[in-house]
């Protein structure tokens, strides 16, 4: 008798996995390596995926954990050779601002601003605002309580808002 569980549809999840990996790593080629590792792990663990549940949340959880493990390994290695372990949040963010393939300059600036956020806040913002994942699923991805997700999200938004120097109650500007 074959396994009754269907395999998760990893191909259709690929574009979003790749996007999340880019936001995590801040580097296009490292992102693809991370996707590769995530796919291998997802295949191994595929029987643990509950058919019908949010596939993105499950895959993002695997990817988040892999990323955190790899990063702590790298930190341990680099701690011996360099002393700048306490770098700012923007360190390692190498997403080109033209990466949106859009004419609109402000979108490139958004990518730049996202890179200036601490990693966890950047992650939450992508998952909540762009992926529109449930807060509970984001908590599962990051392995933190939901309250932590909410406060990270709030801080991320507040920082972005200040970067754009948009007053809290700015009236809608009509351009064009």
């Amino acid at each position: 008798m074959p396994d009754a569980l269907p395999d998760p549809d990893l191909v259709s999840a690929l574009p979003r996995l790749r996007r999340y990996a880019r936001v995590l790593t801040g580097d296009f080629s490292r992102a693809d390596d991370l996707v590769q590792d995530t796919l291998a792990r997802a295949w191994e663990k595929r029987r643990l995926w509950k058919a019908g549940s949010d596939l993105r949340a499950w895959l993002f959880t695997i990817m988040h954990n892999l990323y955190v493990n790899q990063r702590s390994l790298r930190r341990r290695e680099s701690a011996e050779t360099s002393l700048d372990a306490d770098h700012g949040p923007a360190a390692g963010w190498e997403i080109p601002t033209r990466a949106t393939q859009s004419d609109r300059i402000e979108l490139g600036e958004v990518l730049d601003q996202i890179g200036r956020l601490p990693g966890e806040q950047r992650e939450v913002l992508l998952l909540a605002a762009v992926e529109e994942l449930r807060y509970g699923d984001i908590a599962q991805v990051q392995g933190v309580p939901i309250g932590t997700v909410m406060s990270r999200l709030n801080r991320a938004r507040e920082k972005l808002r200040r970067m754009n120097a948009e007053p809290a109650a700015a009236p809608l500007k009509v351009v064009k």
């Binding site: 574009p15 693809d32 291998a40 191994e44 859009s102 958004v110 996202i114 762009v130 807060y135 909410m150």
Partner: protein, 264 residues
């Protein structure tokens, strides 16, 4: 009704992200109608969301690298495939070899004897299936009872899947594999580091001489094997020799106990 209801940042975020229950959303909406400053904050959050989507959505339309698509569809990940090609090729030639060997078995067995080829078969079988991320086994460990019953039936003698938890290895499952004269049974185990070891059990007519533990290295795979009660056992894996031996002893001990219990 909603007047005076305090709204937190969390309420505003959750409302802007449409994560509130309909009832709670209605309450917040009523409050926002009374507080233009809060309503403006919600609008700002939603504008920010729209800008973020505009910035990040184009990435979704990019062409995907072929390797990623292959890894998302293939039965093996690209990584494990790259690592195991030489052994898979060897394993493929083993299949041919087994067919030829079976046809000429009288002659070959006279010349080589079973114990010489048994560890090699074990190592190649291990390499073939341990590298298979998705289907290392035919029946998974969650159906252990069915697995053991089925393999016992196919091999025509009672089998046992040793419990290697004490060595840190959990049963993944098992499968039927080709043998010289009769099929063999393969039990696969895995530890927390995803290292796999496998136990091959085979009963061939010629495997009558009992042997002590013997060790062989075949293509980088270590194999401890022994013949007991006309049955050949081989434990294969990429572990160091002492670790593999200690696990082989556990297997041997458990099988001896099971055998004694099975006899009237």
């Amino acid at each position: 009704m909603s007047a005076g209801l305090p709204l937190s940042d969390d309420d505003l975020n959750a409302y802007a992200d449409r994560q509130l229950s309909p009832e709670r959303a209605a309450q917040v909406e009523a409050r926002l109608a009374e507080e233009p400053a809060l309503a403006a904050r919600v609008a700002a959050i939603q504008r920010q969301n729209a800008t973020l989507r505009e910035a990040f959505d184009p990435w979704l339309a990019e062409a995907l690298p072929r390797e990623l698509i292959a890894s998302a569809t293939a039965r093996h990940s690209a990584r494990s495939r790259a690592r195991s090609w030489p052994l898979l090729a060897a394993a493929a030639s083993l299949v041919v070899g087994l067919a030829v060997g079976w046809l000429m078995r009288g002659e070959l067995l006279q010349r080589e004897g079973t114990p010489v080829t048994f560890p090699r078969q074990a190592a190649l079988t291990h390499a073939l299936y341990a590298a298979d991320v998705n289907r290392p086994v035919e029946i998974w460990a969650n159906e252990e009872e069915r697995l053991v019953r089925w393999l016992s039936k196919r091999l025509h003698f009672p089998l046992h899947a040793p419990n290697l938890n004490s060595a840190g290895f959990a049963l993944v499952g098992g499968r039927l594999v080709a043998g010289n004269e009769r099929p063999g049974a393969l039990f696969m185990y895995e530890n927390a580091d995803k290292q796999r070891i496998s136990l091959l059990v085979r009963k061939d007519a010629e495997a009558t001489r009992e042997t002590a533990f013997r060790y062989a290295q075949e293509d980088g795979v270590g194999v401890f094997y022994w013949i007991d009660d006309a049955c050949g056992y081989a434990l294969s894996g990429n572990l160091d020799k002492t670790q593999l031996l200690s696990i082989a002893r556990i297997v041997y001990g458990q099988l001896a106990v099971a055998e004694a219990a099975g006899k009237p």
